[in-house]
C-alpha cells in the first residue's frame, strides 16, 4: 500500500478543521499539533482516520509518538510498510 504523504495528512487534518491563525500550507512538519490547534481528541481523530484509510492499528501509546505532523507520518508509515 502507498505511504501516507504530507498532502494526504493535511487533507485529513483539514477534516478536523483549521484554527483561525494557522496556515496548513506553511511550514508545519515540525510544529506540534497542539500549536496547530489540534488537541488530543483531534489527534486521536486524525489517527483514527489514518487507521481506517490504511488499515493499520495504532498502539495505545501512539499519542506519545505522534506529537507533530512529521512524527505522525513516520509513525504511520512504519506501520503501513510493516503491515502492522
Amino acid at each position: 500500500m502507498a505511504d501516507l504523504g504530507l498532502d494526504e495528512l493535511k487533507k485529513i487534518m483539514r477534516t478536523c478543521g483549521v484554527a483561525e491563525s494557522v496556515d496548513l500550507d506553511g511550514e508545519i512538519l515540525d510544529v506540534p499539533f497542539e500549536q496547530l490547534g489540534y488537541d488530543s481528541l483531534a489527534v486521536l481523530e486524525i489517527q483514527g482516520q489514518i487507521e481506517q484509510e490504511f488499515a493499520v492499528a495504532m498502539s495505545d501509546d501512539a499519542l506519545e509518538h505522534t506529537k507533530t505532523p512529521r512524527q505522525m507520518l513516520d509513525f504511520a508509515n512504519d506501520l503501513i510498510t510493516t503491515g502492522a
Binding site: 477534516t15 478536523c16 478543521g17 481528541l41 483531534a42 483514527g48 487507521e51 481506517q52
Partner: protein, 403 residues
C-alpha cells in the same frame, strides 16, 4: 433578586437573528418547506421547518465544526448572538459567576446516525473520536462553557419540549445561588432519517401532505404537528448586575414559573397543565387578569389541543385572553421550541404586536380560546404567559413581565 433577559439569539427556520425571525412571524411567513437535508420522499412526513442558509463553516469556529452535531452548531451560534446582543464580554466577568444551562431533546442525532452507521457497516474501529463528545445531551452546554470560560454551574435539562422553559427557571435558580450571568435556552436538530423515523413513531406528526393544512392547532381538523429545527438562546442576568453594567432596558423579567407532570394514561386522574399555570401566576404574584397574552404549546393533536384550551379557558375564562401560536410557522422545535416562543413573546411585548396564525382556519367550537388569527393584533403587552409540554406528561408555564 430579579432575573432579567438582557440578550437573545435566534437560529430558527423563520430566520437567523431575532429581527429576521420577528419580521417573518409578524408577516405570517411560513418556513415550512419540503425537507432538504435528506431525501424524505419515501417517508410519510415530507415537510418541516428547516433553517435555510445556515453554513456552519461560516458561523462556527472551524475546529468546532467537525467535533459537534448540527444541533450544537445552531446552539453555539444562537449563544454567540445572545451574548453579543447582551453586550456581555465573558472575558471581563468573574469566571465562576457565569453559568450555562441548556435544554436538550434528541442530542446529536444526525452525527450519531453517521457514526452508528460506520460502526454497523465498517466495524467498531471506524467510529471517530468525536462521537464521544458530539452525540450526548451535554455537548452544547459544554462547548459554550469552554468557548467563553464560563466556570460557574453548568447544566442540561432534557424534558423534551417543556425543557426549554425549565432551563430558564433553572437559570433563575442559578442567579439566586450567586451566578450573575447565565446562558440559557435550547436548540434541537433531528431532521435526519433516523431522527424523523423516531419522531414518526410517536404518532404525533401530521401526515397531511398539504403543508398549508398539515399543522393547524385548535382546529377540528388538527392532525398533529410538523417538526422543525433550531431554537434560541437567552442571556438571563441578575437585574442589579445588568443595571450596574449599564443595561438600560432589558427585554423583560422571568417573573414566574411552575412545572407539573400529568398522571399516566388511563389513570383516571385529571391532567395538570392548569395547575402549572396557576403555580406560575402565583410565583409571579399576579392574577390571571394581568396576563395580556398566552403563547400556547399548540401541539396540533386533537386531544392535546383540547386539554390545553380547557386549561387556558379554565384560568382566564372562555375567550378571556389572546392566544398566540407562532410555532405553526416553524414546526415544533422540541428543546428549541419554548426558548424561541419566549424570545417571540419578548418581541411581542416590545412592539405591542401579537402574532397571528393564518386566517381562514375554522376553529374548533369546543375550544373556547381567543386564538389570534389572520392579522396580528396591536395592543399593549406587559405580561405574557408561555406554555410548553414535553412528551410523556411534562408541563411548564413561565410568566414574562415587561421591564
Amino acid at each position: 433578586m430579579t432575573a432579567v433577559i438582557t440578550g437573545v439569539g435566534v437560529v430558527a427556520p423563520t430566520g437567523i437573528g431575532v429581527e429576521e425571525h420577528w419580521t417573518a412571524v409578524v408577516n405570517g411567513d411560513t418556513a415550512i418547506r419540503p425537507i432538504s437535508r435528506f431525501d424524505a420522499s419515501g417517508y410519510p412526513v415530507r415537510h418541516a421547518g428547516e433553517i435555510r442558509e445556515f453554513d456552519a463553516a461560516e458561523r462556527v469556529p472551524s475546529l468546532l465544526v467537525p467535533q459537534t452535531d448540527h444541533w450544537t452548531h445552531l446552539g453555539f451560534q444562537a449563544a454567540e448572538m445572545a451574548l453579543a446582543d447582551a453586550g456581555v464580554d465573558p472575558a471581563e466577568l468573574p469566571e465562576y459567576e457565569m453559568a450555562v444551562v441548556t435544554a436538550a431533546s434528541s442530542g446529536g442525532t444526525e452525527f450519531g446516525q453517521k457514526e452508528i452507521q460506520k460502526l454497523w457497516s465498517k466495524g467498531s474501529r471506524a467510529v471517530g473520536a468525536y462521537q464521544s463528545i458530539a452525540w450526548f445531551y451535554a455537548a452544547s452546554t459544554g462547548q459554550i462553557s469552554i468557548r467563553h470560560g464560563m466556570r460557574g454551574p453548568c447544566g442540561v435539562i432534557a424534558n423534551e419540549q417543556a425543557g426549554g422553559l425549565d432551563v430558564l427557571a433553572q437559570a433563575r435558580r442559578m442567579l439566586r445561588n450567586g451566578a450573575k450571568v447565565v446562558v440559557s435556552g435550547g436548540t434541537d436538530a433531528s431532521l435526519c432519517p433516523y431522527g424523523l423515523t423516531a419522531q414518526l413513531s410517536s404518532g404525533l406528526l401530521s401526515r397531511d401532505p398539504d403543508p398549508a393544512r398539515a399543522f393547524r392547532p385548535f382546529t377540528p381538523g388538527a392532525a398533529g404537528y410538523l417538526p422543525g429545527e433550531g431554537g434560541g438562546k437567552l442571556i438571563i442576568e441578575d437585574a442589579a448586575h445588568a443595571a450596574a453594567r449599564g443595561v438600560r432596558a432589558p427585554y423583560g423579567e422571568v417573573a414566574g414559573y411552575a412545572a407539573t407532570f400529568d398522571p399516566p394514561p388511563r389513570s383516571g386522574r385529571p391532567p395538570t397543565l392548569r395547575r402549572a399555570i396557576d403555580g406560575a401566576l402565583a410565583d409571579a404574584a399576579i392574577t390571571a387578569a394581568e396576563v395580556d397574552v398566552v403563547f400556547a404549546d399548540a401541539m396540533g393533536e386533537a386531544g392535546a389541543d383540547l386539554r390545553e384550551a380547557a386549561a387556558i379557558s379554565a384560568v382566564f375564562g372562555p375567550y378571556g385572553v389572546p392566544v398566540a401560536a407562532p410555532k405553526v410557522l416553524t414546526g415544533r422545535l422540541y428543546a428549541g421550541g419554548a426558548p424561541l416562543d419566549v424570545i417571540t413573546a419578548l418581541m411581542c411585548m416590545r412592539d405591542g404586536i401579537v402574532p397571528a396564525v393564518p386566517g381562514g382556519w375554522e376553529l374548533d367550537p369546543e375550544q373556547h380560546i381567543d386564538l389570534v388569527q389572520g392579522e396580528p393584533r396591536r395592543m399593549p403587552v406587559r405580561t405574557v404567559l408561555v406554555l410548553a409540554r414535553g412528551y410523556g406528561g411534562f408541563n411548564a408555564a413561565l410568566v414574562l413581565r415587561a421591564p
